[in-house]
């Protein structure tokens, strides 16, 4: 990640300093800056600036009414030492992310791989079936109908009919059921852009590689997958990993829609909910910013670690 220009400096202009040369290149490419300007200005306002502002505000007690005072790391100390609900939220978020992230990633990869062996017509139908839940908006609310807390919910109705239970289970009000159910629903909506990227990546692997592999002694499809397919589609695997990680930390909306906010006994309370609670409801912006910064650091950290791991595939 360097901001050095990729263009090689022509040898004839070696007498110029780097700054002079850069400035000359910049003037020559005015049009290029003009073209990226609209996007980049908005990008800085709505994506880069918020991160910087959050970091700055996290060291203050800003509450939207009074001038902010510098409180240094008080917000962070309060989060980790005084706020039991934050610790619970952090724990829930990690459980949620550590399950949904890897599982949805592997699920997307396996399904994409298996789909790849189907014929083109069947493949597009099956792709649609798997992809549909992730683009259909609030359709995940159907799980509330399926697991509804009275006998008209399909699951309770069936269980009662079979005589397994006498009274309906209050799935979304019972702390024991909330997390597993939310994870299942999150997984159900998780086959999104990464999944499509895997499908495309698999289609791009040239067939002659497989044929050469078969000649070279690849015995079965698992070896073929490990030694040929995965190394070839490593760029897609990277892209998919980034999306899966980001997604696995962002399922707060699904949880709120299913179990309300706050959930019973905070059983599905995540960092996102905590952030929303302090930022969106109590307007303790300094404290909320500290939460946002922690979330930011965790996500970037997870991405860095996973990227390192993935770069080892096929090496």
């Amino acid at each position: 990640m360097s901001n050095k220009t990729a263009v090689k400096r022509p040898t004839a202009q070696k007498d110029m300093t780097k700054a002079q040369w850069t400035w000359k290149e910049m003037k020559k490419n005015k049009v290029a800056y003009l073209m990226i300007a609209p996007f980049m200005i908005l990008f800085f306002i709505f994506t880069v600036w918020p991160v910087l502002l959050s970091i700055a505000l996290s060291f203050t007690d800003f509450n939207m009414l009074e001038m902010p005072n510098l409180v240094w790391v008080d917000n962070y100390i309060r989060l980790f030492l005084d706020d039991d609900i934050f610790l619970l939220a952090a724990q829930n978020t990690l459980i949620f992310a550590c399950i949904t992230g890897p599982v949805s990633y592997i699920m997307a990869l396996l399904i994409a791989w298996f789909i790849n062996e189907l014929g083109p017509k069947l493949r597009s139908v099956v792709t649609l079936i798997f992809y549909a839940p992730s683009i259909s908006g609030s359709v995940y609310l159907v799980w509330q109908t399926l697991f509804s807390s009275d006998s008209y919910g399909w699951v309770n109705g069936t269980l009662i009919n079979l005589g397994w239970i006498d009274d309906p289970i209050l799935f979304f009000q019972d702390a024991d059921y909330i997390m597993p159910l939310c994870i299942v629903v999150a997984l159900w909506t998780s086959l999104g852009t990464a999944f499509l990227s895997f499908i495309a990546g698999l289609q791009n692997v040239p067939r002659h590689l497989y044929e050469a592999g078969a000649v070279d002694g690849v015995k079965n499809r698992w070896q073929e997958f490990w030694y040929i397919t995965l190394p070839y589609m490593r760029p897609q695997l990277m892209f998919g990993a980034v999306l899966s990680i980001t997604q696995s930390f962002g399922f707060g909306g699904v949880v709120t829609a299913l179990c309300g906010f706050p959930s019973v006994d905070y059983a599905a309370h995540t960092i996102m909910h905590h952030l929303d609670d302090y930022g969106g409801q109590r307007y303790e912006m300094g404290y909320a910013s500290a939460i946002a910064v922690i979330l930011f650091v965790v996500m970037i950290g997870a991405n860095t670690i996973i990227k390192k791991g993935l770069s080892k595939i096929g090496q």
Binding site: N3, I36, I45, I111, G153, W154, T193, Q203, F239
Partner: protein
Amino acid sequence: MAKLRTRKHKVVLSRSTGGDFGINLFLVIMGAFMFLPMYYVIMQSLKPLDELWMFPPRFYVENPTLSNFSDLFTLMSDNYVPFSRYIFNTVFVSVTGTFGNLLLSSMAAYALAKLKFPGRKFLFQLVVKSLMFHQTVTAIANFLTMSTLHWLDSYLALIVPAFCTSMGLYLMKQFMETGVSTEVLESARLDGASEFRTFWVIAMPMVKPAWLTLMIESFKNLWNSGNSIYIYSEQLKTFNYAINQIVTGGIARAGVGAASTVIMMIVPITVFIICQSNVIETMGSSGMKD
């Protein structure tokens, strides 16, 4: 050495029957897990009242009816904000946001992919980094920005941030790297075409799959955007928000809730069916190099 079977001089990759069976079984089970809830919504939306209240609940419908859909319209027209207003909001926000995103992202992507200027690597890396964190991180600060700009409770708060999605720029840039031939651009420039003209007339038609993909990505996000913290007025809320209110309204409205969910999902799914092959083509270049 693997046993090589050849048919018509072509190497046949070794596939075990057991493996084939296992894979298909897995696909069927996972497919059922994905499909049945969708199917259940559709069935619910077609059930007449007595079937909705039937015990035990059934996965099929005996006398399909469209009354839930007409009830939805009646119910929404009694609302303080007319039904059509929610739909207008969603369509308006989706269309303008998508159009702006397409224009700004492609223009920036073209410059990043095809023009060489100091800082382009740094800017692109910044965009890639921003794919790594979820929007919740920026929500608080954006709320403050919106309030400074006096954009709270206006369409601008929903539309303008949608103009600059990192995902849109990323996909478009990756696709342009390979999808637009530099030679053609060179010859256009030699003919005296300005850079903007080259971009618009030469490069854009070459990346049709990418802009269709971008449109779907952006449209999907905007269409499904629900309760935004930037919007207070009921008149500016989206269709998705209104639907969530109905669905969470309780069992009495189960059929109507299902009907509205069906309406919500039909649009993105139809758009995807039309563009599927283009989307897959674009995703082929979506890989991250390092």
